[in-house]
Symmetry: C3
Subunit: 244 residues, 3 copies
């Protein structure tokens, strides 16, 4: 049975995630619903795109990612379904799937042309994307047609993003850089501070800043028994430099 994984900037609190899950439960009885990120970078499809691409490959083939970071909701941005690496992605065509598409050899993209009975102007996650994710989870064919333009693509975005794209509950700061593209002894710099690579937290004295390959392959800056966000002034969007 496939899982439906939620990747949004809605926050876990408030009514948004719950209403999407109510739609999914009604349309796909018994399908596991997983909250991956409810706090993706708010309104920031670019940073979110690097995060989604890094995290989604950990999930098994067949997983459906209901992905909504959608500051242009109600406007002219397309609504899309992407199949890439045997996984499905449903959400706004605002670049959110750019890295997933680029890193797959066989990505296909459809425009959603299914219309709900009632489409609110501000909550396509509930009214449009959740029903389409449920259809895909049930094994329905994608309710739309293959795209013939690249309105959802962002070819000018880099392959890896040298910025902080997420700060977690511990204050660790994830970059949009895959550790695998960095030389083993690369150092990362923020302003005039540089960080060596370590294997994990317990390898270093308390208070030391370092970077490491996190459990999903991103280069992440952390402070052992400290908070990289507060101790080092890191926040989403902070620029990183790669120092060989």
């Amino acid at each position: 049975m496939p899982m439906i994984v939620l990747f949004t900037d809605f926050g876990l609190q408030g009514p948004y995630t719950g209403q999407m899950k109510a739609v999914l439960h009604q349309m796909t009885v018994g399908t596991p619903l997983i909250d991956l990120f409810a706090d993706a970078p708010i309104g920031n499809a670019k940073a979110s795109a690097y995060l989604l691409a890094a995290y989604s490959l950990w999930f098994p083939p067949g997983t459906i990612f209901l992905s909504v970071v959608d500051p242009g909701v109600g406007g002219t941005r397309p609504a899309v379904m992407v199949k890439a690496n045997s996984r499905w992605y449903v959400g706004p065509g605002n670049g959110l799937f750019e890295l997933v598409q680029r890193r797959s050899e066989d990505a296909l993209t459809w425009d959603i042309d299914w219309k709900p009975e009632r489409l609110s102007a501000s909550f396509h996650g509930r009214d449009l994307f959740a029903p389409v994710a449920a259809m895909l989870a049930r094994g329905d064919p994608p309710p739309g047609r293959l795209r013939t333009d690249g309105a959802d693509r962002r070819p000018d975005w880099p392959d890896d993003l040298a910025e902080i794209v997420y700060v977690d509950h511990f204050g660790n700061a994830m970059t949009g850089l895959r550790a695998a593209i960095l030389a083993p002894n690369s150092r990362l710099a923020v302003g005039d501070r540089t960080f060596d690579r370590a294997r994990t937290f317990s390898d270093l004295p308390p208070g030391t800043g370092f970077w490491y390959e996190n459990s999903n392959g991103l280069a992440e800056i952390a402070v052992n028994q400290g908070r990289a966000d507060l101790d080092l002034g890191l926040t989403i969007g902070t620029r990183i430099e790669i120092v060989s």
Copy 2:
């Protein structure tokens, strides 16, 4: 299969929501449990009542709302079950269901007279309301008797509340006013600032404050690509004026 929807001021973190769900899972195997609001206005049954009435009608008939905003827990407030618009509501009779009852043509209210083996003084959500919600989800008759007084009603509360009743993860500020009762060109004012109506975020330049009908019918004040709470000083309880 009916859903059980949680509407509380408990917060998603901490043990409270989890313990209620443990009760529900044990008593109603396989029933979907939906977190609608875990961050309803803390201890504020009045603001919560307008929020619950607006959001619950979106859910299908048969849904059970386990609703706990209960600053008087352990005191003399009644514990009730309400059937209104083919949906069930279980929780404290402190006004929380006033608008649900008032907006239904056939609302019935029962006092809960079932008693658990052990009733803590401070957590009726887990010990009393969750088991009763589970009974209703299983199709049991309501474990109590029809009310003969109005101790749970608040006839002095207005039909719509001209206040902010919720601020979401984006900083958007929901009022207790149904958009449908406002004239199409109504403006809303807070202090000396007035806001025009718009259809959705992308209709306006970044930084512009406006109000719109949100996806559940409430008038909501927002700032395109901004935060209405911080940019405009809005918080739960802020008074709103309707300017024709």
Copy 3:
């Protein structure tokens, strides 16, 4: 069907809880997964140990507690399974289960010797502890051997901890003291303020600080219609004195 209960310091947001649940869903289809605490004291196995011991006994026998407060992840701390009071506990052997073990007459502890195909250095919750919790939920024998040393024990920790171990969404401050060990008229003191015992919130005038036995047996300091954390300056680690 047993439940799997999550007790971590991961935060509900971010990817950690979701990835653990994805593992659990795949390995134990249909098992209820309950979020008890996702905000246990960060990196603080000692305070967490008193919280876990107080809350886990409320759950039915057979429950599996996937418990991860693990600042030494990737280092030399053992990885363990504990059976105590007919419940299972899986997580780091850093003292997190000390009070559960001590308060059980028949606690048994195993070292985990199962190894996943891929073990990240920083996320044993997902790669090691979640699969083991799933095995136990399926009824598999514990994948390891009984411990022969006490590397996971902390005999020097007290039976009850006279400190704040958790602050909830309402600002109520839980201590690591079981109310049952306190004399009925004990008072608790923080600095030069003392608090009398009360039964529940509604027994006292608004603004009054007091302590009471919370719904899981811990002594908890609260302020009726106020926030004990802000009004009284309480935070995790604040020392409490027992005044007869």
